[in-house]
């Protein structure tokens, strides 16, 4: 097994319980850090588990739900998380992220990832500026072309913005296993920093082409839908966790699923989304302790396939 500094849920919860009410000092109380992996194009390390916002943070004007989302963010940062991902396609999610960052203070090491999602290439800059305002941040770290929509028009804009230091990294996204051929072609031909794809214990097509290509081209990989929007975990939870999951420090199916993803050498970060503090802590716990090696990964996939 690959060893990563111990960061069990109990220790994590202890650290968080010991943390004072944070206010603007949200970033200061990070006491234990999850394992990270380097972004190939820069060498900058980002934690292996990030935070998605699809559905979970789209809570509209609901103040109670906004506060709950902010609490998830606060605990994510306390647990050493950095990368939050959103999109203009996610309804009020960007605004809710901005609310959370304002309420508790923006951590100095926040890694803000968003997307441009508009057919008209000319309108891309205006949409990205609107997104930036909703987050309330000076600039995005990563901007991705959402679902390859008008990528030919948007990528030159994003590369120009990167050259002008208006963002740090450029990427593309796809999900649900769509357009892998186009994705591979863009990965092979464009100087991308990131690609975002769907990968989990049962959606494994990317292992054939996209993940090896990412390794070969030095492109960081963000993994979306690690739990198939929760349905994978609901299916798995009908069965007991195998006893050998303890060999890789898994205490739940969610950690089992996440460790399978983040132990792939091409994967930089998985971005599970949640509305619950206990779940975000559980997810962050997956980036700690022992990680599966190749043989264990094969065993995990075979076990789940038999369920």
């Amino acid at each position: 097994m690959e060893d990563i500094p111990d960061f069990t849920r109990r220790r994590l919860l202890g650290a968080i319980a010991a943390a004072p009410l944070l206010g603007p000092a949200m970033g200061r109380a990070q006491q234990i850090r999850p394992a990270s992996r380097a972004i190939p194009s820069s060498g900058e390390a980002v934690p292996l588990v990030g935070l998605g916002s699809w559905i979970t943070f789209n809570v509209g004007h609901d103040r109670v739900a906004r506060d709950a989302s902010a609490e998830v963010m606060r605990n994510f940062f306390l647990a050493g998380g950095r990368l939050i991902d959103s999109s203009p396609m996610y309804g009020s999610a960007q605004e809710v992220i901005g609310y959370g960052l304002k309420k508790f203070g923006r951590p100095a090491d926040l890694f803000a990832a968003d997307k441009v999602w508009i057919s008209d290439g000319e309108a891309g800059r205006a949409q990205m500026e609107a997104s930036r305002r909703l987050w309330g941040i000076p600039r995005f770290d990563l901007m991705q072309v959402h679902n390859l929509l008008s990528w030919q028009a948007h990528l030159p804009t994003l590369f120009a913005m990167k050259a002008a230091d208006q963002l740090r990294y450029v990427g593309i996204t796809t999900s649900h296993g769509r357009r892998h051929g186009d994705t591979a072609q863009i990965m092979a031909s464009q100087p991308l920093d990131f690609v975002q794809i769907t990968y989990n214990l049962v959606d494994r097509e990317v292992e054939q082409r996209l993940l090896p290509l990412a390794l070969e081209r030095g492109i960081a990989v963000i993994v979306n839908r690690p739990f198939q929007q929760g349905s994978l975990i609901r299916r798995l939870e009908r069965h007991p966790l195998p006893p050998w999951a303890a060999e890789i420090d898994c205490s739940s199916w969610a950690q089992f699923a996440l460790k399978f993803i983040i132990s792939h050498p091409a994967v930089t970060c998985a971005i599970p989304a949640t509305t619950r503090v206990d779940h975000v802590l559980e997810n962050m716990g997956a980036a700690t302790g022992r990680q599966p090696d190749q043989a264990m990964r094969a065993r995990m996939a075979a076990f789940v396939a038999r369920l």
Binding site: I55, T56, N58, V59, G60, H61, D62, V64, A65, M89, Y90, G91, S92, N147, L148, L149, H176, R178, R179, Q229, T275
Partner: protein
């Protein structure tokens, strides 16, 4: 969206069931006790139908139009749009239905209660009563809060069903132009609830399809003797 035809309803769902029903809860809390006024309007529709006549039909059309217009603005535009990027289009569709109701119902008098088949009459009345009295209870029966009740005149589903009920009660030659938007909404709403895995997802689309089938059946039965008598 790239390859949009490959996306299913569950891929396109932007919000959780919890967020969707909280939307109704906040809406109801904010506007209480307007729900009582809406219920009075619904009962007024029933009374007007019982009274019958051209003026009653026009008054029913005005009440329904007011409800559709309010939902376009107060629900879709002001609230649902905060979690659903498509809600702005729903608002326009509901406003269009309000205008259609005013034009065809209030101006042209096409909602005048008229003799229909017994089945149509029973179904129309049943649908109206169901929308007014039973629909707000469904959520509670499924374990949701009272405050999340969907009420005629304020929530889109019971209002669309009540409108289809009124159309059934308008006799064998209804204004067909008044059917598409309520029917489309009911199908869309059922799809949304299905994507959210709400157990009551089939109620609204099935009731709407039944109403349309009965309306078509009534129209065919009415047309048949006329053709055969030629």
């Amino acid at each position: 969206m790239s390859e949009w035809w490959t996306y299913g309803p569950r891929d396109l769902l932007m919000f959780s069931a919890q967020t969707y029903y909280r939307l109704f809860e906040l809406y109801n809390r904010e506007l209480w006790p307007l729900q009582m006024l809406a219920l009075v309007l619904g009962v007024t529709v029933l009374v007007l139908w019982r009274r019958g006549g051209d003026r009653a039909g026009r008054a029913i059309a005005v009440i329904l139009a007011a409800c559709w217009l309010w939902i376009a603005w107060g629900f879709h535009w002001q609230r649902y749009a905060s979690i659903n990027l498509a809600a702005g289009y729903f608002a326009w569709a509901f406003a269009a239905q309000a205008l259609l109701l005013l034009w065809l119902g209030a101006v042209r008098g096409r909602l005048t209660p008229a003799p229909a088949t017994r089945l149509q009459q029973r179904a129309g009345l049943g649908l109206l009563l169901f929308s007014l009295l039973v629909f707000p209870l469904i959520g509670r029966l499924l374990g949701r809060s009272w405050m999340q009740a969907e009420v005629f005149g304020m929530a889109p589903d019971p209002t669309a069903l009540a409108t289809l009920g009124v159309l059934l009660l308008a006799g064998p030659r209804p204004a067909w132009a008044l059917f598409p938007i309520p029917l489309a909404w009911c199908l869309l709403s059922g799809t949304t609830l299905w994507a959210m895995e709400s157990p009551d997802f089939a109620v609204v689309p099935l009731a709407a399809l039944l109403a349309v089938l009965l309306a078509v059946g009534g129209a065919l039965m009415n047309a048949w003797p006329k053709r055969s008598s030629r």
